[in-house]
Subunit: 305 residues, 3 copies
Amino acid sequence: MQTQQRISHFVSLDDLSTVEIERLIARGLELKQGASPHRTVTKTVANLFFEHSTRTKCSFEMAEHHLGLHVLPFETATSSVQKGETLLDTCKTLEAIGVDALIVRHGETGYYERLQEQLRIPIINAGDGSGQHPSQSLLDLMTMYEAFGDVTGKTIVICGDLRHSRVARSNAHVLRRLGATVIGSGPREWFDDTLGIAYQEIDEALTSSDIIMLLRVQHERHLDDQSFEATVYHQRYGLTHERMARIRPEAIVLHPAPVNRGVEIAEELVEHAQSRIFDQMTNGVFARMAILERAFDEPTTKETI
Amino acid sequence: MQTQQRISHFVSLDDLSTVEIERLIARGLELKQGASPHRTVTKTVANLFFEHSTRTKCSFEMAEHHLGLHVLPFETATSSVQKGETLLDTCKTLEAIGVDALIVRHGETGYYERLQEQLRIPIINAGDGSGQHPSQSLLDLMTMYEAFGDVTGKTIVICGDLRHSRVARSNAHVLRRLGATVIGSGPREWFDDTLGIAYQEIDEALTSSDIIMLLRVQHERHLDDQSFEATVYHQRYGLTHERMARIRPEAIVLHPAPVNRGVEIAEELVEHAQSRIFDQMTNGVFARMAILERAFDEPTTKETI
Amino acid sequence: MQTQQRISHFVSLDDLSTVEIERLIARGLELKQGASPHRTVTKTVANLFFEHSTRTKCSFEMAEHHLGLHVLPFETATSSVQKGETLLDTCKTLEAIGVDALIVRHGETGYYERLQEQLRIPIINAGDGSGQHPSQSLLDLMTMYEAFGDVTGKTIVICGDLRHSRVARSNAHVLRRLGATVIGSGPREWFDDTLGIAYQEIDEALTSSDIIMLLRVQHERHLDDQSFEATVYHQRYGLTHERMARIRPEAIVLHPAPVNRGVEIAEELVEHAQSRIFDQMTNGVFARMAILERAFDEPTTKETI
């Protein structure tokens, strides 16, 4: 058990100190400025995405490329998981074959707990059920630090389906640890009291926030629901042109994407000067490079135990 | 707008001058002879194939490999397109992540128009709906130039479902621009008057043609149709042994493949000495290398704008 | 025909002499000890897996990586096979595009026979229907030789669905050629008289065996059958804790995986000191490196004919 705790898993920002988190943010920004990555050309990783993704998967792939990592192709759809193999046995197989780290997105909240106990290679959580999405949090933080230096004393409003969002869950906690004030907004019935943050109406929250973080309305959850009206959502909770005109001049707008243009935010505002939505995607590559470097840089990973 | 027009998109041969087209043909043949490719090891591309493909996709992958390009894996089936993200936003995401060119096959005719306006990286069209298939045209041209030097004064008969074929559409136009005579043949009701070419019965057209280009009968469109009889098609419009005996001794036979053996052409004739069907596949790699070189060679791509 | 027989296909161990087989085993073990692989960086291979796989596919991918091979991505699900193209034409296409060897798993027993006749590049069989799985046999042999030096005079019991197992078929024959005694066990009605081996009850066979090879109960065949009771199977034929206590102290336990924990073997015994199940997976990478080296090392492959 002792040796296993020293493996540099990255499953939740809750497991990292604020010093470690700020070191990762700084490293991500440094890499963006052109610092040389710690290339690890002898290592192999595998990306196990059991849920759909473009941004997170492609972003990890690009980060892996920049570090010179070998990526073992793994298609969940044609793997033995389809023959009923458990996630743990699939991961143990990959470890036995020589994979040095696993990047995993899985629908089961906390899937990584058993893996952390049983594997001797790092697990990097790319999203678990309605649990955590720590690499997304890190890129969000990078984008905020890039704009403001840090988040101490800043106010962030997170607007949307907080109850089902792993982005909201990951961010709400870490932002407060780093000294920010976090407010929840959007439909009152989608608010989650267990996040430990206050609720405000969007029109009130907007004018006092430095960072406006919009959450995605999940098609699979709401947009197919006939009682849900996209245009009504947009008018009541979305970032309309009217609302955009009232945000602070230095405030920035974030969204984890994919964006439903015209729902969470007006079509053309995605590319607005105060929007950082595409910057978030760019920053995601550097955030993930910092995360992968950490997995291999530590003196206590697999080889040296 | 002005700067964007200088990006070396490759979406239709109609956008290229005949000088440019002949330069690409010559470059493809030069690469086939062993010329060193312009390696671009610092670049990343992504192949977005929203329709099934073996030849085109594998051929682009091989061309990318020969140029030393990094290929970002992208699976349409597990991407956020499944969450309703638009093609444009998917492409903008890949651009933000650092992809330098996109190779796209998509079912929507002219899908590339909005992309060309909005992206600052080249789009290479690997087939759009019933529109264009310019890289296929280029490899067809390469195969013809390889046999005859050029196509000036040559007669080409295109036989099959001209109405639904993007190969026919791409080829009919460019061949005439390059000085060839193009004839349509096959079922009269599948002929397309808008192509601006004459129709002839296959038995008449065969004996006067230098190049016989057979089009694929699309399973998904016709072969599942109970009124369609593969053997009847073969007898009336296919390249039977009898018809093969009557073509000119120097004539060549092309087919974009996959071939329905025994339908468009008799089983064993696919490997006939006058068939260039497998040469087309080989040439496809070199044609695509020339296309990719062009995307990155131009002094006016992304970096320098 | 003569030249084609000289291509180093690897479709069944029946085609190799015992000297060749033992040379491959020795080479696999040598590579595991750290011998330098014969790197073949100018070659391209493609993995065509028409059936689900994690271990075999990932293991070949890792072996290919260690040899420096270029792997052309090929997704069966989005290939033209979906448009009705035959396996032979798909393979000929890949050959025309420049692929130097094909690794194929396919549901049709003996699929490789026509390919061997028509292709000039090596076919490596990664499993055909209920036929052969020669690379699995090779890694099983490597694991046995690693434990015992060789298999002369050793007794192996293969327990499970022998009738539908290509692992059983491949192993039963080669083990006897190499001097071992092979016994079949498990449900009497799943036994296959055509394998030419004797049947024994598991409790009898266990105590006299040096190698206990468990076969996977195939979900898709039995576990969904309501008359099949996993717990009954485990009690009657599985490696329970009670049975494990009675095997020889030097005996080893093998399973081709994926394991149905609690069915073929008790949950915790997968990681037992006498289990070689994860060693098999590790050895699979080296076995496949030896197989791939053979495909390219021979002086009589494609280029030199």
